[in-house]
């Protein structure tokens, strides 16, 4: 399966061992090791929150490890800054963020060392001339003098690779390079990466798409919960199931949830929904009192679907029925007030909560309009009375209702972002990745809460890329891939069978 047998003995370029990195309240990396050879493409896998991006930030000097050692070509090194890592020949390729949009392709490539004539005078002709070979090497099709803002995302990525190569990078970190580009462009990118491998560049490839990993990579390291689940395994010796097991772990921690009443009538029916974001005709039915799991890897289009349902993204076709009536939801406000939808965003800090403000304000924000007396007045006693049941039901722990949400733990923050919808009596809850960045114990508590809500008659669309979570919580599971629903599975909560069935739909 691996692209081609490599006859050379590959020398180890970068060796990382015993790395530990702790942030307030969470151990991001614990005794992690990683080995990278010249001329290989090494997959770095793991679910969200497994520690991949922390490891990458340590390799590129953004973070310094608390413990552990990094050896570059056998010599121990410390990267005090991104600049230091860059100087040592390590470059990261982001999706499109690292370019100056107003500048030309050639200028971006040579940004740190603009060729000059005389005293500090920019030699534009030389910039274009010197950038050209690097552009040709990776196949940037635009002219050197084209402003980067006019390029496609895929082309910008190639510009970043060209820039890295021009910096004499011999280690290239590709952070989800295929997340935002078309299959055709992916094919081209892979040819380029294969070419670089032949030139002895060491490449780290981070992706959620296992097909790509099998197609492209030579070896793989998997992180799970900040630890090595697998290190330095040859792709040729591993199969897909095994890799998935490494990524998502065994189902051993899963305790069965108590039985709940059977699902009731359909409250949300979606038929043939299409959006500008590229969703194929999506159809699903959500019933009263059930948890419908929507499983898919990052980028499969799950959040897109959710945001279309609450009116954030415009639907271009299809039909949505809520409690039997055809609807066209145009905004969050309408979704909440007319149809009693609640949307718990995966991005608590930016979309879910107002960190600066109190628990009270964050919970009651959805019901201010309803609490008003005489048109505007909100009496604190009435406000507190309205939100306390929801906060108690979810067991939110805070010193007082006036405590600012930003000072709560991640689990309590997540509870507040659910509580505000309960306070508003929303009964169709769309919950997007509820347990990302939350420790195992709190995760368990959140699962029980969600299950409990469904048992009390709420209808829950649970979006998650955490397979044990989906299998534990869902009554039925929809599997999503490439913006299409590729399967609907009744869930018997048996981890091994279910995960196999899900994986079968994904490949």
């Amino acid at each position: 399966m691996s692209a081609e047998p490599n006859p050379r003995t590959l020398e180890v370029r970068l060796e990382v061992s015993g790395i530990r990195k702790q942030f307030p309240g969470v151990v991001a990396l614990d005794n992690v090791s990683f080995r990278l050879r010249a001329g290989e493409i090494h997959a770095l896998l793991g679910e969200n929150g497994a520690g991949k991006s922390t490891l990458i930030k340590i390799l590129t000097g953004v973070y310094q490890p608390d413990e552990g050692e990094i050896r570059l070509d056998g010599t121990p090194v410390r990267f005090a800054s991104p600049r230091a890592a860059l100087a040592a020949g390590i470059s990261v390729v982001h999706q499109e963020r690292n370019l100056i949009p107003q500048f030309t392709v050639a200028e971006n490539i040579l940004l740190e060392r603009i060729p000059t004539r005389g005293v500090q005078l920019v030699d534009h002709a030389a910039i274009n001339r010197l950038a050209r070979p690097w552009m040709d090497m990776v196949g940037v099709e635009a002219a050197p003098a084209t402003p980067v803002a006019e390029l496609s995302v895929a082309q910008m990525q190639l510009v970043e690779i060209a820039k890295a190569l021009s910096l004499q990078a011999h280690i290239l970190l590709m952070d989800e390079p295929t997340a935002a580009i078309t299959p055709h462009e992916v094919g081209y990118l892979f040819r380029i990466l294969g070419e670089l491998r032949r030139r002895n560049v060491a490449i780290v490839f981070v992706s959620h798409k296992l097909e790509e990993v099998f197609e492209l990579c030579d070896r793989v390291t998997v992180l799970r919960d900040g630890r090595n689940a697998a290190s330095d395994v040859e792709m040729a010796t591993i199969n897909r199931d095994r890799l998935v097991t490494y990524m998502i772990g065994r189902a051993e921690v899963i305790a069965k949830l108590p039985p709940k009443p059977p699902a009731g009538e359909a409250v949300l029916e979606v038929a043939g929904l299409t959006t500008k974001g590229g969703d194929g005709a999506l159809s699903l039915v959500l019933r009263r009192g059930e948890v419908l799991g929507l499983y898919g890897l990052v980028g499969a289009g799950r959040s897109n679907l959710a945001k279309t349902l609450v009116g954030e993204i415009k639907a271009t076709g299809g039909e949505v029925r809520v409690r039997g009536a055809v609807t066209h939801i145009a905004s969050f406000r309408e979704a909440l007030e007319k149809y009693r939808f609640g949307y718990v965003s995966e991005d608590r800090k930016e979309e879910g909560l107002i960190l600066l403000h109190s628990v009270r304000a964050n919970t009651s924000i959805t019901i201010w309009r309803r609490l008003r007396l005489l048109g505007q007045w909100i009496a604190r006693s009435i406000e507190d009375a309205a939100i306390l049941p929801s906060l108690r039901e979810l067991d939110v722990r805070s010193h007082s209702l006036s405590q600012s949400v930003g000072t709560l733990s991640g689990g309590n923050q997540q509870k507040v972002s659910i509580a505000k919808w309960l306070a508003a009596k929303a009964d169709i809850l769309i919950i997007d990745e509820p347990t990302v960045g939350i420790d195992i114990k709190t995760k368990n508590a959140l699962h029980e809460l969600i299950w409990d809500l469904a048992a009390k008659g709420k209808s829950i669309l649970l979006i998650s890329s955490d397979m044990p979570e989906v299998i534990r919580l869902s009554d039925r599971i929809l599997v999503m891939r490439n913006h299409a629903i590729v399967g609907e599975l009744p869930n018997d909560h048996q981890y091994d069978e279910m995960s196999e069935a899900i994986m079968a739909r994904l490949s």
Binding site: L336, E350, E351, G352, I354, L356, H357, I378, R380
Partner: protein
């Protein structure tokens, strides 16, 4: 009480102590500082400055700026002057007229911001010159200096024979209204939510555009209130009214702990900030420091306030 709230209380207390310190110092060092006449004019000046600060504070609460506070205050002051002097309307009618005009101009700002999605800085920079330009064109820059006695004497009247002008009561009434707006009214709460995190506010079902529109309307009405207070105190509606309000509008809220990026306001802080501002201007003048140098002082005070705010917040980590 959480760290952030505690820190804010401490900052407010510190501001109170600093202000009190200046009062004690000037009472001793500046002869005439404690005379009834001086206290009266000091507090009246403070009342106007604070109301100007309120107009800006409201815009800041949603994370916007209103560079047109002075323009609206000046234009509505002129409208009131014209209504009283030329149309001969009773002062009360003229006041209502001017307040409505201020609110309408504010709505104009809000509409432009929500329609065009252009930064409030650019919009209010442009409308400030539109409003001032239009006012000057219409009035030919002629002041209205024959205002009815009943109107001008309002600001001269002492409350309960204390050295306190009616204008101070007006300012306090506005302050109380704003305090409850942000604490207890749905709109005020929505304004703070929009200011702290526009996206989360919208995704919680708030109508952000409506909030932005109303906020600028209130800001306009407050600017008009300040304009009316100023022409009552000056006994004349002058076309240059409002042209020097920009600094004052930011100094009082900034000293008082209002976050310039939105989502957090302090009404008592703005009042104390305005009092401090007025005390320094008045006291320095009395101790013989040249009026012109006081501008330097106010600039430094603004710089110190924002830098200190940044330092304490960085130290306390109250705002993530």
């Amino acid at each position: 009480m959480t760290g952030g709230a505690l820190l804010r209380q401490v900052a407010l207390l510190a501001l109170l102590i600093v202000t009190a310190g200046f009062w004690i110092y000037f009472s001793v060092a500046a002869s005439g500082f404690t005379s009834d006449f001086n206290l009266f004019s000091l507090l009246r000046f403070a009342a106007i400055q604070i109301t100007i600060g309120f107009a800006q504070m409201v815009a800041l609460s949603i994370g916007d700026l209103n560079l047109a506070v002075g323009a609206i205050g000046g234009a509505t002051g002129m409208i009131a002057g014209w209504a009283m002097q030329v149309l001969g309307l009773p002062p009360l009618v003229a006041v209502v007229f001017a307040l409505a005009a201020g609110m309408l101009l504010g709505f104009g700002n809000g509409l432009l911001i929500t329609w065009t999605r252009i930064n409030s800085f650019i919009v209010t920079l442009a409308t400030a010159s539109l409003i001032t330009g239009a006012m000057l064109i219409v009035t030919h820059a002629d002041p209205f200096s024959r205002l009815p006695d009943s109107f001008t004497s309002f600001s001269e009247t002492e409350v309960a024979s204390l050295p306190v002008s009616n204008l101070v009561l007006v300012m306090l009434a506005v302050g109380v209204a704003l305090f409850f707006l942000y604490r207890n009214l749905s709109l005020g709460r929505e304004m703070l939510a929009v200011g702290a995190n526009r996206r989360a506010a919208r995704m919680s079902g708030l109508s952000v555009d409506r909030v932005v529109l109303l906020t600028h309307g209130i800001s306009g009405a407050l600017a008009a209130t300040a304009g009316l207070m100023a022409i009552s105190a000056d006994h004349t509606a002058s076309p240059s009214l409002g042209s020097d309000w920009l600094l004052a509008s930011f100094v009082a809220p900034a000293i008082g702990g209002t976050l310039l990026s939105g989502g957090l306001v302090s009404v008592p802080g703005t009042i104390l900030g305005g009092v401090l501002l007025a005390t320094i201007s008045n006291g320095l003048l009395l101790v013989g420091i040249d009026n012109f140098w006081i501008t330097v002082f106010l600039g430094v005070v603004l710089l110190l306030a924002v830098v200190l705010d940044r330092v304490t917040r960085a130290a306390g980590g109250a705002v993530p």
